[in-house]
Symmetry: C2
Subunit: 768 residues, 2 copies
Amino acid sequence: MNQDYIIPNEWSIIEEGFEKERVISSESLFSIGNGAMGQRANFEETYSGKTFPGSYIAGVYYPDKTKVGWWKNGYPEYFAKVLNAPNWIGIDVEINGENLDLNKIEVRNFRRELNMKEGWLSRSFEAKLANGTQIEVRIKRFLSLDLDELGAIHYEIRPLNKSAKISFNPYVDSGVKNQDANWEEIFWEALDSGQETDFGFVQARTFKTGFNVVTYMKNSVFLDGKLQEVLPKLEEESSTKIKLNYTLNASENQWVSMVKFGGYTVSTNHPEEELISAAKNLVSQATEKGFEKLLEEQKRAWAKIWEMADITIEGDVKAQQGIRFNIFQLNQTYLGKDARLNIGPKGFTGEKYGGSTYWDTEAYCLPFYMSTKNQEVARNLLAYRYNHLEKAIENAEKLGFKNGAALYPMVTMNGEECHNEWEITFEEIHRNGAIAFAIYNYVRYTGDFSYVPEKGLEVLIGIARFWHQRVNWSEAKGKYVMLGVTGPNEYENNINNNFYTNYIAKWCIEFTIENIDKIEKEFHSDYVRILNKLRLSKAEISEWKMVAENMYFPYSEEHQVYLQQDGFLDKDLTPVSELDKSQRPLNQKWSWDRILRSPYIKQADTLQTFYFFEDHFTTEELEKHFDFYEPLTVHESSLSPCVHSIQAAKLGRMEQAYEFYLRTSRLDLDDYNKEVEEGLHITSMAGTWMSIVEGFGGMRVKDGKLSFHPHIPEQWKSYSFKIIFRNKILTIHVSHEGNSFSVDGEEELEILVNGNPVKVEPGNLVKV
Amino acid sequence: MNQDYIIPNEWSIIEEGFEKERVISSESLFSIGNGAMGQRANFEETYSGKTFPGSYIAGVYYPDKTKVGWWKNGYPEYFAKVLNAPNWIGIDVEINGENLDLNKIEVRNFRRELNMKEGWLSRSFEAKLANGTQIEVRIKRFLSLDLDELGAIHYEIRPLNKSAKISFNPYVDSGVKNQDANWEEIFWEALDSGQETDFGFVQARTFKTGFNVVTYMKNSVFLDGKLQEVLPKLEEESSTKIKLNYTLNASENQWVSMVKFGGYTVSTNHPEEELISAAKNLVSQATEKGFEKLLEEQKRAWAKIWEMADITIEGDVKAQQGIRFNIFQLNQTYLGKDARLNIGPKGFTGEKYGGSTYWDTEAYCLPFYMSTKNQEVARNLLAYRYNHLEKAIENAEKLGFKNGAALYPMVTMNGEECHNEWEITFEEIHRNGAIAFAIYNYVRYTGDFSYVPEKGLEVLIGIARFWHQRVNWSEAKGKYVMLGVTGPNEYENNINNNFYTNYIAKWCIEFTIENIDKIEKEFHSDYVRILNKLRLSKAEISEWKMVAENMYFPYSEEHQVYLQQDGFLDKDLTPVSELDKSQRPLNQKWSWDRILRSPYIKQADTLQTFYFFEDHFTTEELEKHFDFYEPLTVHESSLSPCVHSIQAAKLGRMEQAYEFYLRTSRLDLDDYNKEVEEGLHITSMAGTWMSIVEGFGGMRVKDGKLSFHPHIPEQWKSYSFKIIFRNKILTIHVSHEGNSFSVDGEEELEILVNGNPVKVEPGNLVKV
């Protein structure tokens, strides 16, 4: 835990007091988003102190020219950067001629609140300006869930000690930069700008990708809450910027305010020639409703999300705040409405890592979306990869694979690889496995097999072909081996026979063959279509089978554990607990070679196998592996604590499970990894959800049935969550006194609780 | 072989005919240097076609900000770049008002010659200008060996079909750029410029490193060979450039010419305030002597070098040209006069790789300089590393080592590491071994042990400490293992127990202990001084011993070979001969992961052990290892063919040895690796020398005695070379009819020839 200033609250993230060194951290933590766009909690008015400006539009990216020290064949030409979009929130404020800048004046009673229940961000403070004017300021901002190209700001000021001339100078500005730009290039080309009384816009297009974006605003001003007919002055006008000026006179204690609507219309959603009219249409809808009505709608829309997605925890405010923060951010990032989008590791809260799609989506996020939204959302996530299959085949070809073998990218925005470390890009190939596993997981959970003949099987065949070509026969071992990989534990590079990778490769092949067989029997016309399209022969399939049946797995008889990779036991196996604290986090303290030859594990690797394929192993085996690997694990990946929390819970080690839960759920709030300023860890937030549902709740699906093994941490009085399972909504409430289940709707649901069948009937709370 | 335009000649590199696409290649091949500076064979006059301008000053570098995709702890802040220095050769030429530019006009009878015997570069051609004037041009240029801050150009023109007004516009220009600049920054800060009649200079300083350089010129013009008193016009004047204008009228067939002296005076050799006067002093010496006299001196100076360094080959002009080209370039690059300098991989012929010192110096170059120059030169090369010991200790500390452990940089200019690929910088640590081996090699060859107590032992102790800390105990193997290294074969990264690295580590420790023991007995005061200075205890030494005695070496019982690394036999061991030619060179065709998991070897790795430690193994063992590894070797490092040539010769496989010899000696002339445009492979040229002396000649040193096992390729009639050995100069002549030995001076030399003792007495040619 590296920070502790967020005030515990069940529904809100709250900061009190203004401290400049917290500004960038809070910009991350108070980020808002609506699935289509999002932004860091930058101030509307001028702030001359340290800040990291960020506003992002889903799916709009820039292919930045790759930067490497030494080029290697196969590196991608570019790295898709999360793109800082034009600024629409800006409102410069002048009080009696002095520009308001919190970096330069005395600030009192500063307070921020991110109200997660209702989906808005507020900020308030009092300040004394250099010219002696004292003011009180209240700002509220949200990004509409219903009109997802629209944001709204209400900016209120009153002078406290004298009357004041107050100017609002709202602007839109496409002259923005990325912090993360490899060559310090500008990513936006200014096209146009314009103004019509209260309306202003700048139009800009991304270089290379050609996303055409109109960034617009519409302003109105109020005195004592009454709309004022003020004709704005055009304060600044250029191809990148339109800034207006509204000046009002406020007497002492009189509130003046501005409502600014703004946002983006984008060529991905509108014809280019209609971008401006679409923006006008949006502001006229917004103006008609007004700020308050839009805010009411916002509350209703968020209530609807929470209705399904909420997890309550009684008796532990910090844990409650943590889980809601995670669920809130996931929903701000991705709502599953648009199959072109995905869940970036930083969502709309920062630029780092670039690209929007990692194996995180399949390995961590899918279960959350599958259980809290309708199954179309999960299907969209799968289809995203189907739509990228051609690119994955091209990607594999660049690395020398052939015959339709597919290697999905480690990081992507449009299906093309954009990462550029050879040990990741070329070798962290296990990502293919998670993509196949997600298809399995989806069918297992939803019972919807139709996706497989329709789209999934082609993906599976591409992946099976890849694994088949990626292994080689070892004369020495008399087995197929997989050389030169990086497993989920990125603190090992270019290793041989990573257990997880070999295991999931074997599984992928078997799962593919199983599906081919099923489709041959049950969907014969699809079978014929796909085999013809992919020129897949029985002979090829039997070659795959050879590989799956003869895959090598490193194993230690002495320790009775599968080894993370060949040679793992040659390491000095000193446990993490004996490391001096000054050495942590390793990735900030040790050189890379030292990390690599150490036994320390960044995140679940062999244990990830036990997470995905729990059924393939006994609990005793899980325990042996957990006891062998966990003491060597430093959890320096945000994706690590959740898996460990789930497995600790499964092993009945509730203290440990609880610790891991806190670490995952408050990773950013408490800044465990000293990096919250860069943005939030969005994808691992789904892991937090899993820690409760699959960890404490012990939820599993097998043979079309939900089962639970509920546990509860000592620190909690109770907790509850909801699951959509095959169109039924099940609520589970767990407390030390016992567990209860209820189901919405009209049909009963049969589940297993601690191995025993339980019928949950609508309208009946079943206590177990 | 990718090019074949260099005309075979015993003493010269000759190109005939002007082809634009060869310009950059020839700029590399015709490079000249004098140990203190050097330059690519750029044209003096304007050339608007593709060219790679390069002029370099020994020891003058720029610490360019490191560029990487993803930063890793321990990476150096900067990468020392070989610095393109200001231009002093430039002479724009105007004929009847038209600028001479070979890219734009018809050129006939174009000829270049790099006369290696005499150390000059010439160029001649006829041309017809757009204005109809036909001209003949002859240019000769050299960099003086005696006055090594001075270069000289004689530029002659005659009009062939009419009289002509001819302008020479000589200039000096510090407004130059590096092609290899990570961030496209300018590396030179202009300080001053000035002119006094025929003399002109620009003064500039490198940013960051602050090397202060005066680039000067002094011009004179001639008509029919007679000096003309022409007052030049100041054609251009700025802080970066001084350009003068001399205009003469030549009648048809009348020769007009310019002699331009120029070069650099540098703050590393003069007080800053004396740089200009030093330049003036140089030009007055040069002017007094005149071009022709200086050229005579140049011939004498090169004759002196050749007197000792030449290798003659009868019956094979291409082989003769190859070896002389190699010897010539080595002497152009480094003459051993200045202990601050070293032998950069591209010498003065290009910018690539940066830095000036690699393990190439110790592993490949030392034997050449040790055998063809006085031993002070070799001692200077060793002392270079002694002088960098503190930096090597700091470098190791950055990677977590302590207690004076030293890790020498992979690439350096000033002792600091500047390479930035983790798999090289942090893991290609075997370089430490070659640095220790060079000390052993020096003492073995020269018999001069005094270097060890004076300087060498401290280096050895730093290196022994490094190896001791770098290994770890493997419980599983019951041995010390070395994890996560890159061996000499850079087509493997982050491997465990690289045989070469483990072997040389063990050897380093043993050699260090042996030297400590010897110094304890024979140089006791040095022993006390060093142990106190380094706080070395007997206890520490016995810990080292434990490591050396229990080092693990991967071995295959089945193949009876040491394995290049753990797991090598898991690879698909298809030999190179079965690879499709379209796949070569692998480093241009395959992605990095594919290269890594392949069995293909870039350069001698396990076999490098057999080269350094030949005596530790039987010839049968060498043969087994050669037969196992050579078929897997792609020789995509310039350092590979020479070691294989030597070992093939040792095994009596002369055809193979000859092929490898051609490949190493004509690597650049025939552009085997498709990269001559970037510059020449200077350090591997010493390997070419070794191929003859140690390969065909079978020269070895043992117990203070030289031994020979002469072989001769069928293609040759005879060959001969000279060796300085312990102040005696031995000449060996090998032919199919027999071998003869002679010694200069007054003392006899006892050698072994094919195992039999032979006394070589001065004045007697001994035939064996």
